[in-house]
């Protein structure tokens, strides 16, 4: 075991960092598209159904197939979930609050940043959390098209029928997923709207 770690430890660490970066880049990309789209849909609710519908269809395309087209595309699926989440988060805000924000004379931007976004944040972050965890898993497939990450060890292990090597990729990936889940869980808690049953 220690021998194995000695041999592969450095590589595992490096690939883990690579994996993290892959996930982070994908999530950043997905968020940068999904959240604004979700917000835009709340302004034009008529578009919500078709857009979320298309996003859901994209989500059903197998990740592996998507890798064939373009590297970042596999995370389109995650994006779909985030669009729906952001949309639902903002639409779910008590209409009275939106009404009051308008009647108080908040500008559209103020209403968005001071009221809508903070109130929808827990929903958006919950979506982000689920998507990130899934993404850590899916990112292992990225190795198939030479993007690196922990998938590389897994693929190598599969090819050489070396279970240790498969585990060397799989275990850190699983731990990474748990760590992301935990970390984002904390962020989510921090963003929670104070209410009965929460520590204010």
């Amino acid at each position: 075991m220690s021998e194995f770690l000695q041999q592969y430890g450095g590589e595992i660490a490096q690939l883990t960092m690579e994996h993290l970066w892959l996930t982070f880049a994908a999530m950043l990309f997905a968020t940068a598209i999904a959240v604004p789209v979700g917000v835009a849909l709340t302004r034009k609710p008529g578009w919500a159904k078709p857009v979320i519908g298309v996003a859901n269809v994209l989500q059903t395309i197998p990740s592996l197939a998507m890798f064939g087209f373009l590297l970042p595309l596999p995370w389109l699926g995650e994006r779909a979930a985030r669009v729906a989440n952001t949309y639902a988060g903002i639409r779910g805000i008590d209409p009275t609050l939106i009404d009051v924000a308008q009647a108080m004379g908040l500008t559209d931007a103020q209403r968005f940043f001071k009221v809508e976004l903070p109130l929808a944040a827990p929903f958006i972050l919950a979506g982000l959390r689920t998507a990130t965890v899934t993404c850590v898993g899916i990112a292992t497939i990225a190795a198939a098209v030479g993007a690196g990450g922990l998938g590389e060890l897994i693929f190598r292990g599969v090819a050489s029928v070396d279970n240790e090597l498969v585990l060397a990729g799989a275990i850190p990936a699983a731990l990474l997923a748990l760590a992301c889940d935990g970390g984002l869980g904390l962020v989510e808690r921090w963003a929670r709207v104070p209410g009965p049953g929460t520590a204010a």
């Binding site: 009275t96 004379g105 104070p194």
Partner: protein
């Protein structure tokens, strides 16, 4: 010549002219209702697309520094009327004047910031502390943090909430009455001359409601705000209103002082009063005298 100028200009201009005339000639005193109406509705009509008329030719004025209670049953158009003042609803025809100026000619954001708005559910933002809720309009106007805090604290104290205790709390930690007080404090934050109140005490128990009504009466007498108060509660209208406007199916049935309202023989007014005081024999005539004493 002078009168020509007067009627060509807007109401706001009229004031200036009237004042000038008064100073230069010392004889012309403008009639009170022309000069001092803080809110005026002129033939206001509103209907939703393909819907029935929610407001049907409403015209009345609210004098500066007074409270007008808009009374009526659910669906009579009270809230709709109130919301034409801060342009949350735009009438199909007619005009709403605020301090003599058509609200449509005002900048929308500035108009709304300059009009206090209190609603039944208070609409406090759950993710903000009480103090931040109160100071939100000032925050929107980029006032300094310290100034906002001080103003919030003053206002909380003014509505009977100890600022140091309640300022840092969140809305969910307050009772219904306390929330309503915060809602009122928030509406007062930008020092608006006009307050719109939509069933502000509707969700409260009778005792708390009574306390709130006392507090509001005392505060309004002190601050000299012009208040348009929507309510379905006759006693509240009698107690708080200097005038009572009764709406019935979008039409204005009455615009009377409380005493006149109770004495009126208008069938709609009578039936409203009767429905409210069912079971209390001859309670109605005492309602004004008794409570106002």
């Amino acid at each position: 010549m002078v009168s020509g100028l007067v009627f060509l200009g807007s109401r706001r201009n009229f004031r200036v002219f009237a004042a000038d005339i008064f100073v230069t000639r010392g004889t012309f005193v403008p009639t009170l209702d022309l000069v001092s109406a803080a809110i005026e509705f002129r033939n206001v009509c509103f209907r939703r697309e393909r819907g029935r008329r929610l407001l049907d030719d409403i015209s009345f004025a609210v004098e500066e520094g007074t409270t007008t209670a808009v009374l009526g049953r659910s669906g009579s158009g009270k809230t709709t009327l109130l919301r034409t003042v801060n342009r949350m609803i735009e009438p199909n025809s007619g005009e709403v004047l605020l301090e003599g100026e058509n609200v449509r000619s005002r900048d929308l954001i500035a108009l709304r910031r300059g009009v206090g708005y209190v609603i039944q559910e208070t609409g406090l933002f759950p993710h903000m502390t009480v103090e931040r809720n109160v100071g939100l309009v000032l925050e929107a106007e980029d006032h300094e943090r310290r100034e906002r805090e001080l103003r919030s604290q003053d206002l909380l104290n003014a509505v009977g909430l100890e600022a140091r205790t309640f300022g840092p709390r969140y809305p969910f930690q307050l009772s219904g009455g306390q929330r309503q007080r915060v809602g009122l404090a928030r509406a007062l934050a930008a020092e608006p001359p006009v307050l719109l109140m939509d069933e502000p005490f509707g969700a409260l128990d009778p005792l708390t409601r009574g306390e709130m009504q006392d507090m509001l009466r005392e505060l309004m007498a002190r601050l000299k705000k012009t208040v348009l108060l929507v309510t379905h509660d006759l006693d509240e209208a009698l107690y708080l209103g200097d005038r009572i406007v009764l709406l019935h199916e979008g039409k204005m049935v009455a615009d009377l002082a409380p005493e006149e309202f109770l004495r009126s023989r208008e069938p709609e007014i009578e039936s409203y009063v009767r429905a409210f005081h069912r079971g209390e024999e001859s309670a109605a005539p005492n309602a004004v005298g008794g409570k106002r004493a």
